[in-house]
């Protein structure tokens, strides 16, 4: 007789689309398979890439006689979050010197968003947050779990031009209530790959200041926007120079290639340095109740690299090489799609930035690509350009061409894609 159980009524949860795709990809024996789903860097050979100086530093760490595994401070070490905040605002930033900006270690980008969101919801009592339409699927999950009760989107991607719907974005922000938290991706927007220009950022700052909104930057792709670390953080530095208070979540997952180490930071910019201890003490509690202290491994790696001039230079050069490869593949992909005369708009691909391309393919077309062509793409049409290599370029572009041509009647109606986007 089946034993009764306290869990008998638990329904299965919705699987994350990304994870299903990855699982299918791993089990797929087809020799032509290509994974364009997950947002991780791939080499020319289509392989995962552990940065050579990361490997080197790990070997040093293992042989370090002073290494121990003691608990980190709850907010991480001073030296780590100084590094993180300096990377964001500049080494000689006046805001750091004047103690307007300070950081804390977080569980990668997600953790930075969650820690900040918990503080804003539970301590500041904020209820409303906005994310771009579309955005990373986990953004609303994080803020809802942190205690926000009112979820809204602002227009962002223009599905006719494949560019930024700037007027729509500004209008939506102007209609946002005071104290609404606005999630803003600083560069390499996930999933659209469309970023505001500098002038547009300035205008966004105007509205945010005027309407008393609270900006929460997401710097998940710092370094992958333009390949230039300082250029990528323009919006953050601009807001700081205008003394507009903000939070910024930083991830070292992509720019150091240490995805599973979960290393990140949350930088806080405040106009009132006298409030720092109070803010930090409240953050300390939120983190303590979630996971007590952050993992030590990430800061060990990142600090060693950023505090060594030679290794730091290698890192900066490597980012440029990685983004140059992505830019090259963007161009080749775009050229091929245009050469093949694939129905639809393709000339915007090289205007976009970051790891991704938003192809405009429909969920049905995406499904066919996965099922019949073993090319793993998300239903929203986002592809990871990093997954394209010289070797698979022809297969990928021909396949997309075939699928899109075959269902061409659907292409000219740019379908309203689901907001469900994965990393």
């Amino acid at each position: 007789m089946k034993k009764s159980s306290v869990f008998e009524n638990v329904e299965p949860g919705h699987p994350v689309e990304m994870n299903l795709l990855i699982k299918r990809y791993m089990e797929d024996k087809n020799e032509n398979k290509v994974n364009l789903s997950i947002g991780v860097y791939r080499t020319e050979e289509g392989k995962s890439y552990v940065l050579p100086f990361v490997k080197q530093v790990e070997k040093e760490i293992v042989n370090d006689p002073n290494l121990n595994y003691d608990y980190q401070p709850i907010l991480g070490t001073d030296s780590f979050f100084n590094i993180a905040t300096q990377l964001l605002l500049g080494e000689d930033s006046i805001h750091i010197r004047n103690k307007n900006a300070f950081g804390l270690q977080a569980l990668s980008g997600t953790g930075g968003l969650r820690s900040g969101a918990e503080f804003l919801a539970r301590i500041m009592g904020y209820t409303t947050f906005y994310y771009s339409d579309p955005s990373w699927e986990n953004h609303p999950n994080i803020f809802n779990a942190a205690g926000f009760t009112n979820e809204k989107t602002y227009r962002y991607f223009d599905r006719k031009t494949f560019g930024l719907d700037f007027d729509g974005m500004i209008e939506d922000l102007q209609n946002a209530p005071e104290k609404a938290v606005i999630i803003l991706q600083i560069c390499g927007h996930n999933p659209c790959a469309v970023d505001p220009t500098k002038e547009q950022w300035m205008k966004i700052a105007d509205v945010i200041e005027e309407k008393k909104l609270f900006p929460f930057f997401d710097a998940a792709y710092h370094g992958f926007g333009t390949g230039d670390l300082d250029e990528d953080v323009f919006p953050v530095r601009y807001f700081a120079d205008r003394r507009i208070e903000f939070f910024c979540s930083q991830s070292f997952a992509k720019n150091f290639g240490i995805y599973n180490i979960r290393c990140g930071a949350l930088t806080v910019f405040t106009n009132d340095p006298s409030k720092i201890s109070a803010i930090l003490s409240q953050m300390t509690l939120r983190i303590y109740f979630l996971y007590e202290t952050p993992p030590a491994c990430g800061p060990r790696i990142v600090s060693r690299i950023l505090q060594n001039a030679n290794l730091k230079k290698q890192w900066i050069d490597t980012l440029k090489i990685m983004t140059a490869r992505i830019t090259r593949m963007r161009q080749k992909f775009q050229d091929e799609m245009i050469r093949l005369k694939t129905p639809g708009k393709w000339d915007y691909i090289t205007k976009h930035r970051g790891m991704f391309a938003f192809t405009g393919i429909t969920p049905e077309q995406a499904e066919i690509l996965v099922d019949k062509y073993h090319i793993y793409v998300l239903k929203c049409g986002r592809i990871n350009i990093c997954g394209i290599t010289d070797e698979n370029l022809s297969y990928v572009t021909k396949s997309i061409h075939e699928v899109v041509s075959m269902t061409a009647s659907k292409v000219n109606d740019i379908v309203e894609h689901e907001k469900i986007i994965q990393y």
Binding site: K2, K3, S5, V6, F7, E8, V10, E11, P12, G13, N19, V40, S48, V50, K59, V62, N68, Y69, Y71, L107, S108, T110, G111, R114, M124, N138, N141, N144, A145, A146, K198, M202, F214, F234, Y238, D241, R242, R243, A253, Y259, N260, R262, T270, N271, D272, A278, I279, S281, Q282, T284, Y288, F289, L290, Y291, E292, T293, P295, A296, C297, Y423
Partner: protein
């Protein structure tokens, strides 16, 4: 660059103006007692100072201890040069399997795939994920009963997960031992289908554990009252020196047919405090149920941190799955437990030799990292102020901070403030 743009906008004057701040109403959070102890200890210049607030194991020289088996595992991992790709949301499958096997041993439940196991951010993160799951899906009252006292962070972890927190009697300050009858009485009154938290071994903060016979009685009562046991096992192996002995209660409850929740930590038993390796498990009644509950656990984890930090988990998996390393680790953990057991005996003996009239038997009866000395707040404060011996006001001392070199001074201090 951006200041040039600001000049163009004619806004340079803003830089000179003090802007208003969002944070003016933020209150200072309550200070943490243990952090306070550590801060005070750091500032003290007395060469004889002792830090008994430390929650991490120290060797007999008072130094942090990297387990030799852990060092070897790190070296093996460095050679393997594994990738840094995202781990699954629930953590690596081999880590999860090895963890629940360590806890349950040979188990029919595991063979039948009845467990839903996820990696957690050490013990705390695992407790939190479990708390969040129960707050969403537990069909009974969303309340958890904690022993009195319990680890300070249990209450806020569960409250912030969304559970109400209540107590049951546990520690008897008169005997510095278990108030077993009080526990049984209180547990009898807990409403059916409530959640009860149990420390699997080395109760934190008292060091007081039930005997095997008492565990059997507890298991029977909890079954009779249809309560849901949630085990916190932060010290498996670290308490008695034997991973099997320390898992006795957990394994007993499984054998007795309870469905349990279990949070595990590798912070103490592998010395991986800062690497945050732990696991949360549910033992369910069917494979299908295990899959459903696992899917919901993943949904809870994703908005916390997406997927877990892998480094500590890889060390754990390497050790548990490599026979030589596993044997070596079992010796390492026994070594730590033995040092603590030995220094407990020495402390007690010293106090007795100093002619103390108090009964110090509880020092050796209690087990694990902590010892509830029975000293009150005044006595604890005097120990800090007069002897530079730092402990929390509840009289709890961390045995990890006691060494063969400082135990005499410690005994002297305790004797002076309690005689």
């Amino acid at each position: 660059m951006s200041s040039k743009l600001l000049q163009n906008k004619g806004l340079t004057s803003i830089l000179a103006t003090r802007c208003s701040s969002w944070w003016s109403s933020v209150q200072m959070g309550p200070p943490d007692a243990i952090l306070g102890v550590t801060e005070a200890f750091k500032k003290d210049t007395n060469p004889k100072k002792i830090n008994l607030g430390v929650g991490a194991y120290r060797d007999d020289n008072g130094k942090p201890y990297v387990l030799p088996s852990v060092q070897k595992a790190e070296e093996l991992l460095a050679k393997k040069a594994l990738d840094k790709e995202y781990a699954p949301i629930s953590g690596p499958a081999d880590f999860c399997k090895l963890s629940i096997e360590l806890a349950l041993g040979e188990s029919e439940e595991l063979k039948a795939g009845l467990n839903a196991t996820v990696q957690g951010i050490s013990g705390t993160g695992s407790l939190r994920v479990g708390g969040a799951f129960l707050a969403s899906f537990f069909p009974g009252p969303k309340e958890i009963y904690l022993p009195t006292p319990s680890w300070g962070n249990h209450t806020p972890i569960f409250k912030h997960s969304g559970l109400g927190v209540k107590q049951y009697k546990y520690y008897d300050p008169k005997t510095c031992g278990l108030d077993f009858q009080g526990a049984l009485d209180d547990i009898s009154k807990i409403p059916e289908r409530s959640i009860i938290l149990l420390h699997a071994c080395a109760h934190n903060p008292t060091g007081v554990d039930p005997t095997p016979e008492q565990w059997q009685e507890l298991s029977a009562l909890i079954k009779k009252k249809n309560l849901f046991p949630y085990f916190d096992m932060a010290y498996q192996g670290f308490a008695s020196g034997s991973v099997d002995k320390d898992a006795f209660a957990v394994r007993l409850f499984i054998r007795d047919g309870h469905q349990i929740a279990l949070a595990q930590s590798y912070a103490k038993n592998m010395g991986l405090y800062g690497e945050r390796a732990g696991a949360f498990s549910l033992i369910t009644s069917s494979k299908d149920e295990a899959e459903r509950t696992l899917s919901q656990l993943k949904i809870l984890i994703r908005p916390m941190y997406s997927n877990p930090p892998i480094h500590g988990a890889r060390i754990v998996s390497t050790i548990l799955s490599t026979p030589d390393l596993r044997s070596e680790w079992l010796k390492d953990v026994k070594g730590m437990a033995d040092r603590i057991i030995s220094v407990r005996a020495t402390l007690r003996k010293n106090l007795e030799n100093l002619g103390s009239k108090k009964n110090w038997q509880h020092i050796t009866d209690q087990i694990g990292m902590f010892c509830f000395t029975g000293m009150n707040a005044d006595q604890s404060t005097r120990l800090c102020n007069e002897f530079s011996i730092y402990l929390t006001k509840d009289g709890r001392i961390s045995m990890a901070g006691v060494t063969s070199k400082n135990v005499e001074y410690l005994a002297h201090g305790i004797h002076e403030v309690t005689k």
